[in-house]
Symmetry: C2
Subunit: 223 residues, 2 copies
């Protein structure tokens, strides 16, 4: 059992439940904070109080990692931080290309935060002659029609989609044909791809819809 | 029944299930695409094929709107687009302030896409003297210690959090005290706030964790 967990920690081989994978970065954020404050040990009960997640769920999530808490003392903060970063892949570099360097795409290229989470955007692609053959913060922007030609030398497995919705599927097909293995879709359009392609949707604007609805509900209850 | 739905369409009074609220923008994206292509009618079956959501679920989601499909013909595209935009609040302007104009915060201010979804960022706040009293794309950046003083004149209900995690909770408390009603949290830190405050978490980096895990799994199966 513990051997199995150790193998996972070096390279996650089991498909973890998505909710667990989404919670682990929360624990990492909190643990990083504790480390900055000079705290040495933390229990799942403490983490639970701070971030509003059930302590038993935290313990279960952390059981996927190669780390054991000590009774009454809890987890060693520095070790927990290291194991979480390692497990989540934030310490390994993952090359990505950005397709569409309009407003959102250019913004994401400039967000240095992504590098801290292991994502290196090595190139951008667009069809707009105003941006093709320029660079953004040192990241070269190429013409989209050179995608298949350039992708082998870029060694990127991940394609980030930040194009207008009417070309989202077309861009997705081009990337899959060129050998891209994971698509990070920032458009609200539901792209489709063969089953062996990883698709992650980050619908920033869909979150706005939820927020507006909840806010409208509160305002109408108050008035 | 139909009267009830009509009232909702003008100002959503019922708390819709979050999954429905998250899917509605997908339909909107697809319907906008059809409109560009000059298509007049669309059925839930057609939408279903295109975006991989069960047709019966689409019909159920759309039943919250003040729109009825016609048998064999489906929904009128222009009407459906209008009703979705209206219902989701994307046509109404919502004032927001950005707290933290580092890499991510500045990027989001520059993302003109947000305006298309009804979000107007009217000001930014930071403590960094290099950015305080400058502006980004015309959006003024103020000193964070002027937050409570300036917020009444800014008429903003929404606060966007893009600060380092160790000050996320502190910033959240300041905003709640100043009367902000909805918090859009881009940090991986789980903020807590009184129950009447709307919290929306957009964990861009948590999505990376899911993508890396799925990608690692595929790579290890192939090798």
């Amino acid at each position: 059992m513990s051997e199995n967990i150790q193998i996972q920690s070096q390279a996650p081989l089991r498909e973890l439940p998505e909710p667990t994978l989404r919670r682990l970065p929360w624990y990492l954020a909190y643990v990083g904070l504790l480390k900055e404050r000079g705290v040495d040990y933390v229990s799942s009960t403490q983490i639970s109080k701070e971030i509003n997640v059930d302590a038993s769920m935290i313990a279960k999530d952390l059981s996927f990692l190669n780390i054991k808490g000590k009774t009454r003392i809890g987890y060693e903060v520095a070790v927990l931080e290291h194991e979480l970063q390692d497990f989540l892949g934030f310490k390994r570099g993952h090359n990505a290309v950005m397709i569409g360097v309009g407003s959102l795409g250019a913004s994401l290229i400039q967000d240095s935060g992504l590098v801290n989470y292991g994502l290196r955007i090595v190139a951008g692609f667009d069809i707009n002659p105003d941006v093709v053959d320029t660079d953004i913060c040192g990241v070269p922007i190429y013409d989209m029609n050179r995608f298949a030609q350039l992708i082998p030398s870029l060694k990127a497995d991940i394609g980030i989609i930040a194009v207008p919705i009417h070309v989202a599927q077309e861009v997705c097909d081009i990337m899959v044909d060129a050998g891209i293995k994971a698509l990070w879709n920032f458009t609200p359009f539901r792209i489709t791809a063969p089953e062996d392609i990883v698709i992650t949707n980050t619908s920033i604007y869909a979150h706005l819809a939820v927020m507006y609805n909840r806010l409208g509900l509160k305002n109408s209850l108050e008035s």
